[in-house]
Symmetry: C2
Subunit: 385 residues, 2 copies
């Protein structure tokens, strides 16, 4: 089940509402990544508290560990990971692509050795649909080939990108057939490929739109290309997708990338950046990024971001007020204490989720352009201001 | 400030109430250990939710990192670590003792090289009082020498234990003098030493009682001695301490040890066992201990302990009910996901804190002996029952 309502627009930017089997998602939305059935470093309860409406799971990883049988016994991923709101699962295509030389792609699918135990595995559009049906994710992604930006130092040629895109289109059709055969009650998204070539992006889009998916993703960006190429494809493809269906830009990106994506008509984003960077002491704030490992933080009594309402910045203070200090977070990092990544993850995810909350408010009130100008000004101010 | 009220007794066991500068502590109590100003793997908010009334900090570790100057700037450890309830700090004696050959003990104090950066350091009773005054902990421990059980394969002789105990007594007097000179507004505890020798324990106790400390600890147990020796000292010393003052058994122990300690008249316990074991997949339950890494847990849909009310066992279920499964925790452990230690830490700390809660209820109702029999029966049942 999927129902998408467009509530407001401003230029290409859209304020929407997505109804899925496990609940409603207000868009534009950022989706935290929960690769192995857990968003790294954060309790599901705290994800709910900070307003996460939908999380990702990785089909490839969950297929390997704990395996389909285990999750099947729980009736799907929701009960296994104790998450009651919607889940989107990717198809495994990006992960087998990331294996590089360790995998062999054919028309039928992708052969590879399990990086966990060396087992020989064969992932096909049909297997991906079967695994995602067992996961019972609200949004299922088609199995695709992620066209690389370059390979062995050579830029992908238009001919290579065309062949790759055409293979993904044929796999999209096989996914649709298998998804229907399995009577999967959720929603299957098609993925636009075509590399850095606008004509191929349009051909991919036309082929997928003809198949009438309930939602569409733009894949094959954030794969190592220069920023200007990413921005070029972001400016080209999203707004050409059907206006009455949700649009998902896969694997993007920085706060600036998300806001640019919204301006270009994207509704949904996912990225490991807030969680992974948190574990490396890289914190996102309204006024730019804060590297907690810098020695200047050793005695800094200020919270990460005084305008932030997350537990790390505010709620921790209690009657004392003020939240955890930069000095304390710096200390935790130096001592290798788990609480450092835990608090940083809460903060970064809250930042990303709240950013999209502000975007939604601005779109509802028809002031997204003005909001965006202020966003850019604030982000360049710096965290010592 | 310290005020101790004895509310009920049953044999040597005591139900009491301790008033400290940062709040009230109902005894008997287990105190989670927060070595570097954080109880490993758990948010302060969750510690409060699960009923932690007082936590530990380690003077030795905090002296090295972040250092006294940083914590001084925050007015003490409470604001630095965002914990508003009482804190007890140890004296650093146990940690310098743990350095083994790397330290040199004299009448004046202990010389050693910082394990963090190699700096030559000198810890004395006076320095320990100065650091603990900067930390502003509610309970300050005297600087003592922890008498070893054995050294280089040789059991500590009575003569060695006597000299060590006498040194600790002289240091107790110096601590008391320095604590008064610093006008520290908190409470200083003396520590009974004497190794495995009852006559030395009594001599130590008499000397400290003559100094009239507001509370007393039993140190030098859980230092590698056989269980029967530990139980012998636990049966000897605690109930001989002044009845109108709180009694703290340092570094002990298993759930069974805590209950035995209560029966012998102990009011306060601390141990790294619930937090450290959690990170190693060792979970405490009413029905015995659960090793989450065992393969049999791979498909086990039950929570850790069906009778447990912690977030991991209960609250996570929401409308779905039931909490996180053993299968999910097993999966998190196999994948090295942070959420595994996070949930296990919440569970183990909740178990220890709730155990003391049950003990307090039983003592209030004069049924501690019966409760203890049921506790032992339950703990031997096994987690597969």
């Amino acid at each position: 089940m999927l129902q998408f309502d467009l509530l407001a627009t401003e230029g290409h930017a859209r304020r929407g509402r997505l109804r899925l089997n496990h609940g409603v998602v207000e868009t534009p939305i950022f989706m935290p990544v929960g690769t192995y059935g857990t968003v790294k470093g954060v309790l599901p309860r705290d994800l709910e508290t900070m307003g996460a409406q939908i999380v990702l799971g990785n089909t490839f990883h969950l297929w390997l560990r704990p395996g389909v049988e285990v999750i099947n016994a729980f009736g799907g991923l929701h009960r296994f990971e104790c998450w009651t709101r919607p889940i989107l699962t990717d198809s495994g295509g990006f992960q087998v692509w990331s294996l590089g030389e360790m995998r062999k792609i054919s028309e039928e699918g992708v052969r590879f050795a399990s990086p966990v135990n060396g087992d020989k595995l064969f992932l096909t559009p049909e297997v991906s649909m079967q695994v995602q049906t067992a996961l019972n994710s609200d949004i299922v992604m088609q199995f695709d080939e992620c066209t690389p930006y370059e390979s062995k130092g050579q830029l992908t040629t238009e001919r290579e990108a065309r062949e790759s895109m055409a293979l993904s289109s044929r796999w999209a059709a096989r996914c649709q057939t298998e998804f229907a055969r399995l009577r999967n009650p959720n929603a299957l998204f098609g993925i636009v490929q075509g590399g850095m070539f606008e004509n191929l992006r349009e051909a991919s889009l036309d082929a997928l739109v003809a198949m009438d998916f309930p939602g569409y993703a733009v894949g094959g960006v954030s794969v190592g290309e220069p920023k200007e190429d990413m921005l070029r494809i972001m400016a080209h493809t999203p707004h050409r997708l059907p206006a009455n269906k949700p649009r998902y830009l896969m694997g993007v990106g920085t706060p600036e990338d998300l806001v640019e994506g919204v301006a270009q008509g994207v509704d949904m984003f996912d990225c490991v950046m807030p969680t992974r960077n948190a574990r490396n002491g890289h914190l996102f704030t309204r006024f730019g990024d804060l590297r907690i490992r810098n020695a200047k933080n050793k005695t800094d009594q200020r919270p990460i971001d005084e305008t932030c309402g997350c537990y790390a910045c505010k709620a921790a203070g209690g009657s004392a007020g003020g939240g955890f200090s930069r000095a304390y977070l710096h200390h935790l990092d130096r001592c290798g204490e788990m609480l450092g990544p835990m608090l940083s993850t809460i903060h970064n995810l809250h930042y990303y989720l709240n950013l999209m909350h502000e975007v939604r408010d601005a779109l509802e009130q028809g002031r997204f352009v003005a909001w965006r100008t202020q966003f850019k000004t604030d982000r360049t101010r710096g965290v010592d201001g």
